[in-house]
Amino acid sequence: MPPVKAIYGGLPDKPPGSFDGELLAFAEDLRSEGMAVGTSEMLDAFDALALIEWQSSSDFKETLATTIAKSPEDRRVFDLVFERFFFRAAEAQAVRLSVSEPQSRAGSDELDLEALRRQIAQALEDGSESELRDLARLAIAAFGKGEGSGVLGVDVQRIRRALGLRTEPQPDLPSDDPRHDGLPREQLRRFEQHLRRELERGLIERTQALPPKRPLSDLDRSLPGGPVQDLAAVHKVVAQLRRRLASQGHELRGANRHAHVDVRATMRASLQTGGVPVELKFRPKRPRRPELFVLCDVSTSVTSASTFFLSVLHALHDVFRKQRSFVFIERISEVTEIFQRERDFRAAATAVSRDAGVADISGYTDYGRVWTEFLAEIESELHPRATVIVLGDARTNGRPPREDVFAAIAAKAGRTFWLNPEPRLYWNYGDSVISVYEQYCEAFECWRTDQLEEFVKALTKPTVR
């Protein structure tokens, strides 16, 4: 059946050679998803596999994981690829040897659907993996008959709805029904995975061919988490930022980073031992303290990003002592004190919007005015070791950008960075004038934490002056 093969990708040309070959193919699969798997890691994996019993699939998987996946993010990708790879490998082999799963129990038409619903809900509460898998098959037999839409995701959702499985409470059900208080989200997700697999297995059996490999999406890849974790992630990245900035001073000193003997103190200490310098005194190492000036746009055009920006600002305040922060719309207003006083982010955010007193007549950003005021206020404090960070979208609303004043600021400060919450695609469209500022500073697009990490990397790259 050539046409079917053309659609579904067919089988790999050759049957699996040896076990080693199959593992290497797995490594190749991991690499194609962007994980760095080195030869030395594979060697370790083989060494380690020689030591364990293979009866337990979880031991096998953990062994591979511990030797190959070396960060939580990698581990996440590893789990997904492991699942995909070995499922496909097993199915391909099954098709080759024409093994097929026995059709699900006869007489499924007479299944008591309501009982099945409750049984599945119960299993979701406390069931084991294999029980979930069996029930997924039953569910497909009962609800997934015939009229498959051809799109797995759609079928999965249709069956889930037919089963009445929801995470939110369903008060109209009897109170001893597990669905009464809503089902645990994680369990439901696992059940959906089982459904998807069983549907896929059925499809492969019918067509005798493997569907094309589905690359991982960004959604799969990202670690599960909500807005709370986002805030934590920002704090984590900023903590890294501080560490890198703090150690930067050492790096720049190059060969001089060894301790210097403090002759005066050594001689003084030697008086105790009759003039023999038994105790060496060293000059203390003083890491350079970076000084930060942060300007944050809080106007309406960046409303969606301003929570993110404020949390960045908040996190920065957590780790830097010498930092002055300003928020601006038409004029600037210093908020350093608010952030120093309020340890809680939510309280700080409300305090900023309440007391900051951003003189805000039109609600439109006036960058030219902001630069002039900023320069007037802190001109005497800017010096080559200061770092200025601007958080804003560079939309001037048609007002003069006054890049000459901005250039003066950039020239006085050691380094100047611009974080723009808009995707690079939109830069310089409409009233965005980021390009006139970009010649005086380094501009980054920054609306996700991983971009913030990129910025941290760039910020802490050793500078050659």
Partner: protein
């Protein structure tokens, strides 16, 4: 003590016998570490028992634990070895005039004048040891680079003496709180273990193991509450050690039930920030039963 574990099951039981309840992958990775002789990099949030794992392993394997606590600015002199400068000076003074320069020079850079620091101790030890390099993420990248030779070949090069090779194979555990990315080179040389907060049942077992006298119902409730607290956005989430502390505190107070009163009184055992205290009292405290009238 089992010198040489033969199976993962062995290690799991062994660790349990010294008071550490390993998760499935923990036992497996420990087993592989002992067998392959590769260092293990353990990462995870603070207080999930990373350091405890090293201690338990040392106890189980019957080895001495050599610990290097890392901090910002740690250098070779504190981690590897240092020349005992004072002793060298005294030596030179004692010999004044008597011997020639060459002789003294050979003499003062001998092993006698070497101050062994933790890494050196671990390498040179006659008995195999467990080496714990704690919070590696606190050091600078340069220090990591220095570790590479030690971790892959178990040897140290001292310019004046030459190479010192390990006579026995230490089990090396590195821990990190993930406050910065470690270099690829370091990761490549290690097995990787991610320790997270344990599953509910697992944590219950841990608590029961440390405070067997605590009534089961209270222990279960305690673990439940801890779980709820961890889901909040806190400055510092309660660790396993703090669950155990809490269990002990409840035991001392003779609590039969965790109600709002008990919770309020003992909250400070698990929560260590003032702002966190407010959040937890507000979000979790109210879900508990009000104190019984008695």
């Amino acid at each position: 003590m089992a010198e040489n574990p033969i199976s993962v099951q062995d290690v799991a039981e062994g660790l349990q016998s010294v008071g550490y309840l390993p998760g499935e992958s923990t036992a497996l990775v420990s087993f592989l570490a002992a067998k392959l002789g590769k260092p293990v990099l353990v990462e995870g949030p603070a207080g999930v028992g990373k350091t405890e794992l090293a201690k338990a392993l040392a106890k189980y394997l019957g080895r001495e634990l050599v610990r290097l606590q890392c901090y910002e600015g740690l250098d070779e002199a504190k981690a590897l070895y240092e020349w005992n400068y004072r002793k060298q000076l005294l030596r030179i003074q004692a010999e004044v005039g008597g011997t020639g320069w060459d002789e003294v020079q050979d003499d003062i850079f001998g092993e006698e004048f070497l101050l062994a620091r933790p890494l050196m101790t671990a390498i040179a030890s006659k008995q195999p040891v467990v080496l714990l390099i704690d919070e590696i993420d606190k050091t600078d990248q340069e220090f990591e680079a220095m570790l590479l030779e030690l971790l892959s070949d178990f040897q140290i090069t001292i310019p004046e003496l030459g190479r010192i090779e390990a006579t026995t194979h230490p089990v090396v555990i590195l821990t990190s709180n993930n406050s910065r990315e470690l270099t690829e080179a370091l990761k490549r040389r290690c097995l990787y273990l991610w320790l997270d907060y344990p599953e509910l049942e697992h944590e219950l077992q841990i608590v029961r193991m440390h405070t067997p006298e605590l009534p089961e119902t209270v222990a279960r409730k305690l673990v439940d509450v801890i779980r709820m607290v961890r889901e909040l956005d806190l400055k510092k989430s309660p660790s396993i050690a703090e669950s155990i502390d809490w269990a002990r505190a409840l035991l001392l107070l003779g609590a039969r039930e965790i109600d709002q009163d008990v919770f309020r009184q003992t909250l400070s055992v698990i929560i260590k920030h003032r702002t966190d205290l407010d959040i937890v009292a507000e979000r979790v405290g109210v879900k508990l039963e009000p104190a019984s009238a008695a």
